[in-house]
Symmetry: C2
Amino acid sequence: MSIQDEIRKVKLASPRMAASPEETRNQALQMVCDALLAHQEEIFAANLEDMAQAQRDGVAAPVLKRLKFDEGKLRDVVAGIRDLIGMPDPLFQTQLARELDEGLVLKRVTCPIGVIGVIFEARPDALVQISSLCLKSGNCVILKGGSEALRSNRKLFDIIYDAARQAGLPEHCMMQLEARSEISELLDCHDSVDLLIPRGSNSFVQYIMNNTKIPVMGHADGICHIYVDRDADLDKAVPIIFDSKTQYVSACNAVETLLVHEDVVKELMPRLKAALDQKQVEIRGTKEIAGVIPCEEATPEDNTREYLDYILSVKPVADVYEAIDHINCFGSHHTDCIVTENAQTAETFMDLVDSAGVYQNCSTRFADGYRYGFGAEVGISTGKIHARGPVGLEGLVSYKYKLYGHGQIVEDYASGEKQFHFKDLK
Amino acid sequence: MSIQDEIRKVKLASPRMAASPEETRNQALQMVCDALLAHQEEIFAANLEDMAQAQRDGVAAPVLKRLKFDEGKLRDVVAGIRDLIGMPDPLFQTQLARELDEGLVLKRVTCPIGVIGVIFEARPDALVQISSLCLKSGNCVILKGGSEALRSNRKLFDIIYDAARQAGLPEHCMMQLEARSEISELLDCHDSVDLLIPRGSNSFVQYIMNNTKIPVMGHADGICHIYVDRDADLDKAVPIIFDSKTQYVSACNAVETLLVHEDVVKELMPRLKAALDQKQVEIRGTKEIAGVIPCEEATPEDNTREYLDYILSVKPVADVYEAIDHINCFGSHHTDCIVTENAQTAETFMDLVDSAGVYQNCSTRFADGYRYGFGAEVGISTGKIHARGPVGLEGLVSYKYKLYGHGQIVEDYASGEKQFHFKDLK
């Protein structure tokens, strides 16, 4: 049986998954928790094999850290699932109830998106989080994790899928792909897959976006900016920039470009350099910046570079409007911050910057589903169609219109014999 | 200046358009109404020229009917705009307000999608409706109407765009394309255009979907079904089927395939045929249907044909589940109806059929923004990402996250020094 035939079976399971009652889905999540705890030794053993193989393959330390699945990570994912169980059902919510005419009632009711394909990095805990979000939201899911986590993922998938079926969720509600070659088969399944969520490098996400007709949710770039305004409190600006740049340099929400109001360049830059020097951050500045502190020279390419490294480009701007134009032109519409004590300037910035997250006086690193209180996220979206920003449960649902009649036909309204009266029901 | 440069200007205008206050946008709509009425004679004159040209070109009667823009159509569009003015602002609505920690407040606020490209049929009233919806929702719009309406559209566009600027909306907030060749330039502008809404034939919409990286909202096929259940009231079934098929055969929400529970085939079909014969509807039935009434023989291709004509394919099914499977397999996820008096069977059908509209006991022709009470629509979406079904104002907005802090950094939370407390604000 081909991958495409297998994926077709997932599609066919999706209507029953969509109609599954809340209790069944919560029961499945509870059984997933129990099974993860019951089988933890097997999971850890599989993960140790993955870790050993990765070390033999010379995988980098940060990747090894993500790959590791130990007691601490297990505790975190189990706590996350328990949070999810306690969350209100995202399905069967009536968003609109309207009497169009006597005995003709329209309802808009939430439903799952259907079949979601998620391609993610070698992080076993991500497999658990993504699966749990999909189970809670009644979506079928096709999972392709990073190959370094093969053994861990296989074990975790089996445990979760078994628990889901034992709870009464339909067969084929989950599927795992293991070979990288299977990704291209997945990309061809636009008749069966409703949404793809690719996570990973810019070039990988671009590749996915350019090679499928399936809608893609996510982000390629994370070129985040901080603008330090004339009315900034520099005692806040320095730690915010330091945290945004160095707290986790390879994250999509790390700052890459700093824009500084020309009036505060002289005061800010020496203090900032002193702080960033602690982490050996390379500053790439324009001529104006180089006149204030020693730094590398920035080129035009630095406007559009996502360094994912201890590098920060810095440019002076004449006012908030120049900052806004720079961000809208060169940014990736992910997360951008203004540091200012002036509420009006902040609001101008936040209204005019066209990004999923617009911040005042805090680190760009807050852009994250957990930190927003969503429990978990499947990814961060920079698109403006459907979910934007960190995507939790809400971004995994759609809706359908249900219209209940008693034999009504359109001709009676077209001819003027009957009139609509549009009465919203409470 | 190239089309792409012009479109870039629209993109650059979009942040100011997004930040425009409600009063300015409503004022623009009021000025559009006034200007349309003040310039009606010029509009009618331009339309008469279009009509004369179309008649010389031998354009079909239904197309001429859509092309016509007279006092009646003007009255309708002006009434539509006045309704729109009275509607609540879709922008600046706070969907979520949450204190993450003391002095760190997250808000999710609605905002426009940005720049929307709409490619639509030769219907001058559609240009007015689409423009009005975009003005109200703070979206910049790029309009490409059917070429038969060239003169009417040019006149209407100038009137609307002038009124918008006079009211204070930004220059380049609207743009019109006139040549068909410009569509391919539009399709390349994925950096400037946030959403495309193509309306028209299946093949045209498919062409757009296959030739752009811009997200596309709409529908290609409209293969709608009616399933007549064993527990149907046939006195309702016959007029519902008649209306769904014949009230406007070329509409996307007209029924194309009828599924009939095998227990009611014998009773329903002769009565249905007598009704459909009044409009010379050709019935294409399976062998079982041909054993009950004289009809053409259906082939497997009839399962997936959108006739847009006086043709109906008919197939018996063993139960509601066979009907559901047929619809999910062969339908286009547009609008599908069950005729039954059994509320439980209806709910099974409506939960398991994966379509934008699922109906009980009424005509599929109700799938329309006006009939749903949305005032107007930019189109009907069969996608499940973003808006689904008839798309009015609500489908033209996205949201952004605004995070207000006082110097908070992530490291304090990562290290455990501080904890989030996630308190929803009223």
